[in-house]
């Protein structure tokens, strides 16, 4: 597997521009636009029927967009399908495996289909088996593997042609917690190898931890696309931090409010925790912390106030199922 391919320029890996796609009169994608930058792990989140799989199928050239332009590594997905397909690996939301084959035969088949020579295939298969920790099961029939193992086999298949971009549609669905955590570890390893990963998932906690950027889509429309950090910040105007105190919790609000540059302090109900909003033009985080220490407050924790991805998701998406 090639390591850390330098993108050179900051040209987006995926450019989706004003895409519209309908099925039987129902609009699945409504003027969808977003970008994915190189070597990032980009989450693609949305409720059922939001248009995630349709978007993925368009990006991976299986579906032609009815309107709009989609480019992958600068290649148009309609006009330059072959170039796009050589650079991507797509893992659909089902296993898509030949269950009557052994793991090795399956990987060998796809490696040969991508035009790898006999010796290249042997090397690449050994590498992807090691990466996905499947080398002990290479002679097993795929039909005899557990869901987690089949998912790993599927991921190994995606990697045999050493793609620069991985498109993963719900890779963790139906997996037990251990298999899910292990899969996420593999994805982290792949990111460290310089791959760009575009992952559609429902498991928000893991995405929040893993992804650099995210696109939230609902009812065919993009609700948010940008950095994960930006999405999780609670306020657009001023930064905020959370201070957890140990010992006696009450009575610090006035002291904190008196600090220069602090705009608003509120104690979170029933908890020894304060939310402090401050003016970043007058105060930076270090100065704020120094000020708090100067008050002799018994600090237990001090962290940036972020929303959980769940909250952001619920705020941005509408109620009801499509």
């Amino acid at each position: 597997m090639s390591n850390a391919k330098s993108s050179g320029t900051a040209q987006p890996v995926i450019e989706v521009d004003d895409v519209v796609h309908s099925f039987k009169g129902r609009r699945a994608l409504d003027h969808v636009s977003f970008q994915v930058m190189p070597q990032s792990l980009h989450g693609f989140v949305g409720p059922n029927g939001a248009g995630k799989t349709t978007s993925l199928k368009i990006i991976c050239t299986l579906l032609r967009p009815q309107f709009g332009v989609v480019k992958v590594f600068g290649h148009d997905v309609v006009d330059e399908q072959k170039q796009v397909r050589r650079k991507i690996g797509f893992m659909p939301d089902h296993f898509s495996t030949y269950r009557q084959m052994t793991v090795y035969e399956y990987l060998d088949f796809f490696a040969a289909a991508y035009g790898l020579s006999f010796s290249q295939r042997t090397r690449v298969i050994d590498e992807v088996l090691a990466l996905t920790d499947m080398d002990g099961r290479k002679n097993d029939l795929i039909s005899g593997l557990s869901r987690g193992m089949q998912q790993r086999t599927s991921l190994a298949r995606v990697l045999v042609n050493d793609p620069d971009l991985l498109l993963l549609d719900e890779p963790a669905s139906g997996l037990d917690p251990r298999a899910r955590i292990e899969l996420m570890e593999i994805l982290k390893a792949l990111r460290s190898m310089g791959k760009t990963i575009f992952i559609s998932s429902h498991i928000l906690s893991e995405l929040a931890e893993l992804c650099d950027s995210v696109t939230i889509i609902d009812r065919g429309k993009v609700k948010y696309s940008g950095s994960m950090h930006g999405l999780l910040l609670t306020s657009d105007e001023h930064p905020a931090f959370r201070l957890t105190v140990s010992g006696e919790a009450d009575g610090w609000t006035e002291h904190l409010q008196a600090l220069a540059g602090v705009l608003k302090v509120e104690q979170l109900e029933g908890r020894p925790e304060y939310r402090i909003e401050f003016d970043e033009t007058r105060l930076d985080t270090n100065q704020l912390l120094q000020g708090i220490i100067g008050l002799n407050i018994p600090i237990s924790a001090f962290a940036e106030d972020k929303r959980h991805l769940n909250e952001a998701f619920m705020d941005l998406t509408e109620r009801g199922v499509r």
Partner: protein, 528 residues
């Protein structure tokens, strides 16, 4: 006790009406009924057109309708009846039914009776109308009753054989395959029994005087008359009187036995889910030391060819089996032509052996290829692997024809056997004679039509593509045959030859269109 009986009855009726509702919503079934109606009307029209040429138009019409019904029921046997339980297994709903308190008997009765009821109803509706054939002449009402009773017995047998296969197999495809295999036996064993009986009577001079001979000859006679084909023929023969024929009795009892077997088997195998049924068929694993020669080995440089050669067409073991099959066919043709008696006074005619082989090898090869065609694309759809395949940096054209080529390699023994047969005595002359015969090309094109149609149906249907294609091919052949019969009556000299040539060209064009349909359909299936 009463509560249990009531609960049992409720379960059956719930399943019965559910099945009726589901079937009534299925477009495929309505199309099938409509097709049957069209063919009956077509038969009526043919009879009307030829009424002056045949002595007993009523009998002729009725016989056509009866054989048509028998073909229709046969077609239903391998598609409609044989999936009755296996479709529930594929949907994993059998466990839910059991949890709802419906027992084995309830499930079997509730599911199979609704289908038997629908088909019986269709036959019953025809009955008063076919009585009108009496007025057309040459037919007695008792013959109609006799023929319908035979058909009903056959339907009962087929429905229950289908049920048994459906219980025994995990998937619709396996159940259809097993039912087809049984049907081949049902239709061919009576013919062998008849041939055996004739051999014993004429060659070995057996008589009924010997009790043992009598027992064997009676048994063979029963077996020979237990098929619907002979019974319908007898029922529509002039002057036939109603009797409880061996076919009616054996088929009804056979149906009952199959139902009881299905009931016994249901508790053991029916609840197994349909998942994890992927077997490697004839392909051994590399780790198997003894059968390593039959393993798929490392992937060839043409991976799609490799995949379909091994995993669709059976690989090396499949190749050997095919060689044995064609070798066996030649041996059979040789045995059929060999003079078995020293005093027979004639030597073997090698021309006849060759002609016999060529006669059977063509359809055998077509069936082999059609069976591969039914899997080559369908397995990708069923296994949801089409999207991964279409994502390869290859054109759809390349993908499709690589897969076809993989299957073609496995069916090579058939092509080679046919090619070799032309080098045998009489082979080339046979080909030369047939080359000038439009009927031969029409027959070949029909076989090609079968292969293409199977592939097309497999892209649209969940199961039964081959059987439906076979039915369509036979229907097309009968249709062309009728038209030719009409032309012959008109006294047109070479018109029927021209028509056969035209039909062959038409079928060729349809086959070409099938290629285009496959190429267009594949990407749209990959989008799902």
């Amino acid at each position: 006790m009463l509560q249990r009986v009531l609960s049992f009855g409720r379960g059956i009726s719930a399943l019965f009406f559910r099945s009726l509702r589901t079937e009534s919503r299925s477009l495929r079934m309505h199309l099938l009924w409509f097709l049957l109606l069209v063919v009956i009307y077509f038969t009526l029209w043919i009879v009307h057109e030829t009424t002056t040429s045949f002595g007993a138009p009523g009998l002729y019409f009725f016989r056509c309708v009866m054989y048509l019904n028998a073909s229709f029921v046969t077609l239903l046997g391998v598609s409609f009846f044989s999936t009755v339980i296996s479709e529930e297994k594929e949907e994993d709903t059998l466990g839910l039914m059991t949890m709802a308190g419906i027992g084995s008997l309830g499930i079997l009765l509730g599911k199979s009776t609704s289908r038997l009821f629908q088909v019986s109803l269709l036959l019953a509706i025809q009955y008063p109308f076919t009585l009108l054939a009496v007025t057309m002449g040459g037919l007695m009402p008792v013959q109609i009753a006799s023929a319908y009773t035979s058909l009903l017995a056959y339907t009962i047998l087929l429905a229950n054989v289908g049920l048994l296969c459906s219980v025994a197999c995990r998937t619709n495809r396996n159940a259809s395959g097993l039912t087809t295999f049984w049907l081949v036996g049902y239709l061919s064993i009576p013919a062998f029994a008849y041939a055996g009986r004739m051999y014993l009577l004429t060659e070995l001079q057996w008589t009924n005087a010997n009790p043992l001979h009598n027992l064997l000859l009676t048994g063979l006679d029963w077996l020979a008359r237990s098929t619907i084909i002979t019974d319908l023929y007898e029922a529509t023969a002039t002057g036939h009187q109603f009797i409880w024929s061996p076919q009616i009795v054996s088929n009804t009892i056979g149906g009952l036995i199959c139902f009881l077997l299905a009931l016994c088997l249901f508790g053991f195998v029916a609840k197994e889910p349909s998942t994890d049924t992927s077997s490697r068929g004839l392909v051994a694993r590399r780790t198997n030391r003894h059968l390593r020669i039959f393993s798929a080995g490392r992937v060839w440089n043409l991976p799609l060819v490799w995949k379909d050669f091994f995993f669709t067409a059976g690989g090396w073991a499949g190749l050997i089996i095919r060689c044995l099959l064609y070798g066996g066919l030649y041996t059979l043709c040789f045995a059929a032509n060999r003079p078995w008696h020293a005093n027979a006074g004639y030597t073997i005619r090698w021309d006849d052996v060759t002609h016999g082989f060529q006669f059977f090898a063509h359809p055998l090869l077509a069936i082999d290829i059609a069976l591969c065609a039914s899997r080559v694309f369908h397995d990708e759809i069923r296994g949801q692997t089409l999207s991964s395949l279409l994502m390869l940096p290859e054109s759809t054209l390349n993908l499709v024809y690589s897969k076809i080529f993989g299957c073609a390699i496995a069916t090579l023994p058939g092509f080679l056997a046919l090619a070799l047969s032309f080098c045998l005595p009489g082979g080339l002359e046979f080909l030369r004679e047939l080359g000038d015969e439009p009927g031969f090309w029409w027959w070949l094109m029909n076989l090609l039509f079968l292969i293409h149609l199977t592939a097309i149906y497999s892209l649209y249907l969940r199961s039964g593509a081959f059987v439906l294609a076979l039915g369509t091919m036979i229907g097309t052949m009968i249709f062309t045959g009728f038209i030719m019969a009409l032309l012959s009556i008109g006294g047109g000299g070479n018109e029927h030859q021209a028509l056969l040539g035209l039909a062959a060209v038409g079928l060729g064009l349809i086959c070409a269109a099938c290629h285009a349909i496959i190429l267009l359909r594949m990407p749209s299936l990959g989008q799902r």
